[in-house]
Amino acid sequence: MLPEPETLPAAPPAPAEMATPETVLAVEHVVKSFGDNHVLQDFSLALHRGENVVVLGKSGSGKSVLIKCVIGLLVPDAGRITVLGQDVTRLDHAAMDQLRARVGFLFQSNALYDSMTVRDNLLFPLRRHWLAHRRAEEAALVRQALEDVGLGHTADMMPAELSGGMRKRVALARTLILRPDILLYDEPTTGLDPVTSREISHLIREVQQKYGTAALIISHDMSCVRLTADRVALLVDGRCYAEGTYAQLQALPDPRIHEFFA
């Protein structure tokens, strides 16, 4: 059962203050190829509770492939992915669905169902995960999720009537309505104008602070990285090339790292 909005746990302390941060998502030595296209080669990364980690990589470097392996939309050729203590490559359908109810995925293209209203878009995951509530509760959850993203008035609109930034917010609301423990963002600011992009980046931070969710953010937008990342992992040639805070990576002299910050 989801907690009521009023009784939400306070955001956990910042990861730096934790003695032994709990790992909620671990990617270990993952390999994924499509024919001769070796996209991921021995990629490893860990995500701790309450932490925002950005995976930074060029377009076509396999960022979406990585995040789709995590949620089980693609199956890695080798390696292990552990989400909330469960090995996703070994789960059956039912267990996978249960796990997915605790992991929110924000698609690069938003993937809003364009035949449904915003409200039905939000209710879809709620009902499909058998988390059906009474009507009044459902309405309250929809309202809360939309208010969290600052779009309280759009419940009866169709996705086609919304702007790009609003659609991104609705898509975020659709993942927030399940109160996930982990959020996966696939290029949350790509295709948005700089101002909207900054708003979305701030929203990502707000969500982290309000609900204490851990987030894996895929991006190549440096302003988004700077605003949202507690830690940055660099995806180059299918490997985790470097890892550290934004400031640490920026200070490194390595030209392959430096080109991202230029």
């Binding site: 789709k68 995925f105 993937a111 364009d114 035949s115 879809f124 995951p125 499909r128």
Partner: protein, 252 residues
Amino acid sequence: MLEQPLLTEAGGMAHFAGRFFREGFRPRYEVGEWLYQCYVIGYQSLPLVGVTGFIMGMVLTLQSRPTMAQFGAESWIPAMVGLTIIREMGPIITALIFAGKIGSSIGAELGSMRVTEQIDAMEVSGTNPFKYLVVTRVLATTLMLPVLTLLADAIALFASFVGLNMRGVTTLALYANNVLSRLAFGDVLPAFIKTFFFGFAVGLIGCYKGYHADKGTEGVGQAANSAVVVSSLVIFVLDLLAVQITGLLGLN
């Protein structure tokens, strides 16, 4: 159209059909979505099927009249037109119209859902998109095309009656008697049964094309287009098979 080699395409479709039978009859059953699809698919095609049925019946009657009159066989027109409609023209014309209308809309709908990642979004929302989208639609087309065909047959027969009355006088009772007395079990049942297969083909091919649409906007158009082309072709092939089978069974 058939941008892939024929055998690869056929293999892919056979595999897709196999998945339909494996997954379609195991819970969770998407009854609500299935009923909604039946409503949409049946209702959307009603006007089109009605109009084509009416014109088909009337044209057949008006065109056969001069020839039949040469042989002094005008009284045979109802029986002849009735047989033509019920055995062949009703099922095949309705199926082709259905393929054009429903096959393309399923191909385009699932294609755009694939391209915009809505199918993946369903997958991560605790829904098996194959069951929710494909199984419901295929079952709906399989069930609705026979219903629409019966309707088109009835409208075509009525149009034929109207056509007869444009040049002469026949009572509805006499006309009905004329048609029905010539109809045998072997005329009606095989023709009815094959429409289930036509409906299945339209739904399956539309879903296959949409479900496997290529990324990008052209992928959607291509899915819609090839859904119509391939399912129309398959309808003719199935029709040929049906006539061979009924022949072997001695029903022709």
